[in-house]
Structure formats: C-alpha cells, structure tokens
C-alpha cells in the first residue's frame, strides 16, 4: 500500500496525524500534512485506511 496527501485539497484538519502519527507529519507553519514516506508499512495499513476515512477534506490518497 502507498499513501500520499493531496496538498491542494488538505486544509490542515490534523485528523490524519492524530489517527496515524507514524504515517503523517504536519508542517510547523500551517499544520498541513505530508506522508512520512510513500510506502505504508504492513502493520500500519489499517491505520492508513482509518486516517483516509477520517480526513474531513478526503485529501488522503491510498494506492
């Protein structure tokens, strides 16, 4: 599984980092999210799905 945050859609709600802190980092200046790495470790896949479901802007792309 791979993950990416669509920077044009993310508005910095921070739910993703709250749900899956190992997968997402928030920029200091505005709290917008980035994936720590594109590869999702096998034991984090469930959290990745949960983060994607929780994102109010639906900015998280799993592929």
């Amino acid at each position: 599984m791979k993950v990416r945050v669509d920077g044009a859609v993310c508005q910095g709600h921070t739910l993703c980092a709250m749900t899956a802190p190992k997968l997402f980092v928030l920029r200091d200046e505005d709290g917008h999210a980035q994936a720590v790495s594109e590869e999702v470790p096998a034991d984090q896949e469930e959290l990745a799905r949960e983060a994607a479901r929780s994102c109010p802007e639906q900015a998280i792309v799993l592929f």
Binding site: G12, D28, E29, D30, G31, R53, S54, E57
Partner: protein
C-alpha cells in the same frame, strides 16, 4: 416547466421547499427530527425564510459544495464596491448597521483571505499551539483552585469562559488581565437578541470592549509586541497593510472565534458526561486511548458553530441542483454531522467512533484557523475536571442553554457540585500576573517560525 427540468431539479420549484427560522425554538428543540427529515427528503432545500436561501444539510451535498471556493463567496462587500454580497450571516446583517465593518477574513475571499491566513497560521498551527501547553495547564489549574474547596462550580463562568479567553489574550499579545473586558460582551452578544431586556447593557459592554481594543491596537502599532495583533497590523495583504477598521474586524474575529466556541463545546461535553457517569468513568480511566476520538465525537455531536452562510458567485450545477449567482446558501455543519449515510447511529455519542470526518471546523479554505487551539484547550479542561472533580453532578434545572442556537450552540451557565478537594496553587489573579511575566520575558506570542521552544513556567 418540462418533466426533465422537474427531475433534474430546481428545488425552488419542485417542492424541496422548507420554511425554517434557525433562531426559532423549533430549530433548537426539534433539531434531530428536522435533520432526519431533511436528509431523507431534501438534503439541499430551498428555505423560504430570511429572504430565501439554499439550506444544505446532506453530508455528501455539503462536502461537494462547501469546498468549491470557485463558486462560493464569503465577501462582505459593505460599501457596495463589488457585487454587494453580504458575508456569512443569514439573515444578513443590514449594511447600514455594519458601519463599514467586515468580520475579518472569514468575510473575505482569496487572495486577501489567503494572505491573512498565511500571516496567522504560524501562530496557530499544531506546533505553535503545543508551545502554549504549560500555560493552558496553569490557567486551568488556577480556575479550578478558585473553587475546589467549595464543592461547587459553574463550569461556564468559572472555567470554560476563562481558559479560552485568557489564552486568546496571550496569543493576541493583549494584557491577560483584560480578559474580563472582552469575555462577557463576546459571549453575551451571541445570545442576547436586540429587544431583550439585557440588550442595552450588553451593547454598552461591547462598546467599551471595542474602545479598549482600538486603544490596544494603537498601542501595539506604536510599540510592537509579539502576537496575533502584531501579525494582523503588519500583514502584507496584496501589497498593503490593513487599515485600522479592517484590522479591528480581523482581531474581533479571532476573539469571537477563540472565546465562544470552545466554551460551548466544553460546557456541553461536561453536561453530557455528568448525565452519563459510566461513560465519564470510562473516559477518565481510558483517557489515552479515548481522548482524541471522544473529542472529535463531542465536536461532531455538539457542533458549536452550527453553520455558515455563503453567496453563490457564479451559476453552477452540482449534483443536479442549479445554483444561481447571487443566491445565498447556508452550510449546516451541525445537520450534516448527523447524516446517517456517513455516521452510524448519528444522534448517539460514541466516544470511540472511528472515521469521524465531521465538519465542525468547516470545510475548505475557511477551515477554522483556531481548531488546534480549541482542541488543546478543550482536552486540558476536560482532563483537569475528570482528575480533580471526578464525581461532578450537574443540576438539569439550573443549566442554562442559549435561547437560540441559530449561530452558536452554547450554554450560559452550567452549575455543578462535587466533593471538595485541595488547592494546588495560587488563585487566578496571582497566576495571571505570573503568566504575564512569562509571556513577556519569553516572548511566547511569537510565531513558531521565530520561537520554537515551549513555555517554561517556574513555580
């Protein structure tokens, strides 16, 4: 009208018409029934009240519309220089009553709106807010110490009004001791309608507050000190600095946003926990695992800011509804948060709910800029109450909810009793003096781009 037109739907003509005054008792007392009805029958309805406007409650429909900054405008064109739009209030505030006032960047469109947010985000991002945690803890501690020996508290007056207000003052760069000048008029003007017996008094307090604020702004313009006020005064908005009136509107937006909403969330959540003691004990004992999900669930369920108005800025068809330029729209965050197609059992609080993509902070480019402050402050107050007053009991007969929940779903008073405990430190006044020193000496109100370290408070 042809059958085809009828099917693709102009809701103004096809029967998806409603008539709902959000300030009515019906909206407040039959909120759940109305939500279910609208979701089933007319997730995008034409509401004939307040001059006619779209009323969007379906979660999917709201999601598809609210993020369309290309077809929505927040503009409050108070001098009729552009298209005369009326900002975010429905019913609209009459232009002659505004005295040229724009309600900050939530009543602006990009690029100006974006310039303000870029200037203020480094004060309000998660990393920026984390630096304030020791201060939030300390204000909360002092508030509880003021009442801990008595066994009784008003959760609104003695806690939930004070902590967000003092913290907001600190972040703005205004004197902490001034919080009381701002607190009452900010809350009371939300729930005191014109014509009520208390209206004149609240108005007088608001005038006094505006005067004090204008004076503080001038002071910071002449002698800059770190904080959001300074960021507003020096912001580069399309190549120029905001004038006094515009700056005042922006700072008032930050005060209004910072004060009333977190208070509303905290009071409602504490009231709910008092009436669900089993859930309260569960939250307390499983705090680490439930803290975040419970917070999001309280945000969803109680949605402090119930919605926002917009104006359609160009003709557009979305999901079969044709919106016309100039028409007004109410985005009901509160009702979309109760849509059963997205939230199982939507009218029940489930503290461990997953996939909770509520819209309580709004959606799209106007997402609440203070959301990280709200979450941190709320969690701190809740944890402290659960620790120090674990058996608190609220008397339903003495709890006072806002008479109208058309703008903010808030509470005026929430008295409670609990087994008295011991003080841990100084009272509020002394604590504020100490905190003011820390704010000044450590320049805590600088943006995170300038100062990264957490506040350090010695005892």
């Amino acid at each position: 009208m042809t059958a085809e037109e009828d099917r693709t739907g102009d809701s103004r003509r096809t029967g998806d018409r409603i008539s709902l005054d959000r300030h009515s008792t019906r909206y407040r007392t039959d909120f759940e029934g109305l939500s279910d009805e609208f979701h089933a029958k007319c997730p995008v309805a034409w509401n004939q009240e307040h001059g006619g406007h779209w009323f969007v409650t379906g979660n999917r429909q709201l999601f598809d519309l609210a993020r369309r900054a290309d077809v929505l405008s927040n503009d409050a064109d108070v001098r009729n220089e552009r298209r005369g739009y009326d900002g975010i209030s429905i019913p609209a505030i009459p232009k002659e009553r505004r005295n040229g006032m724009v309600g900050g960047f939530i009543e602006m469109d990009p690029p100006a709106q974006r310039h303000y947010r870029n200037a203020l985000n480094p004060y309000l991002s998660p990393a920026a807010v984390a630096r304030w945690q020791p201060v939030i803890d300390e204000i909360t501690r002092a508030c509880l110490d003021e009442v801990i020996e008595t066994g009784s508290i008003d959760f609104v007056d003695d806690l939930a009004n004070i902590v967000p207000a003092v913290l907001t003052m600190a972040m703005l760069g205004l004197p902490l001791a001034d919080w009381g000048v701002y607190c009452e008029p900010t809350h009371a003007s939300v729930y005191t309608p014109p014509g009520s017996p208390d209206w004149q008094r609240v108005r007088d307090l608001s005038v006094k507050m505006a005067g004090r604020l204008a004076e503080s702004l001038r002071g910071i313009r002449d002698n800059p000190r770190p904080g959001l006020v300074n960021a507003v005064l020096t912001a580069d908005i399309d190549g120029s600095r905001p004038d006094d009136g515009e700056a005042l509107g922006v700072v008032q937006l930050l005060i209004g946003g910072g004060f009333d909403t977190t208070t509303a969330l905290t009071a409602h959540s504490l009231e709910w926990l008092a009436h669900h003691p089993g859930e309260r004990d569960r939250l307390s004992s499983q705090w680490e695992s439930l803290r975040d999900s419970a917070t999001e669930e309280f945000l969803r369920y109680f949605t402090p800011a119930v919605g926002d108005g917009r104006t359609i800025s160009q003709d557009v068809e979305i999901n079969g509804t044709r919106f016309g330029e100039g028409e007004r729209v109410w985005l009901s965050w509160a009702m979309s948060n109760r849509d059963a197609s997205v939230f199982d059992d939507p009218h029940t609080v489930r503290m461990d709910r997953t996939g909770n993509r509520h819209a309580s902070f709004g959606l799209g480019i106007h997402r609440c800029i203070g959301s990280n402050v709200a979450r941190a402050t709320f969690k701190t107050m809740l944890r402290a109450v659960l620790d120090r007053m674990p058996d608190f009991a609220c008397d339903p007969a003495r709890a006072v909810h806002y008479d109208t929940t058309g703008v903010i779903n808030g509470m005026k008073h929430l008295p409670a009793t609990f087994t008295p405990g011991e003080r841990l430190g100084a009272g509020l006044a002394e604590t504020l003096t100490k905190l003011q020193r820390a704010v000044d000496e450590q320049r805590l109100a600088e943006p995170v781009t300038v100062r990264r370290e957490r506040a350090v408070l010695d005892d």
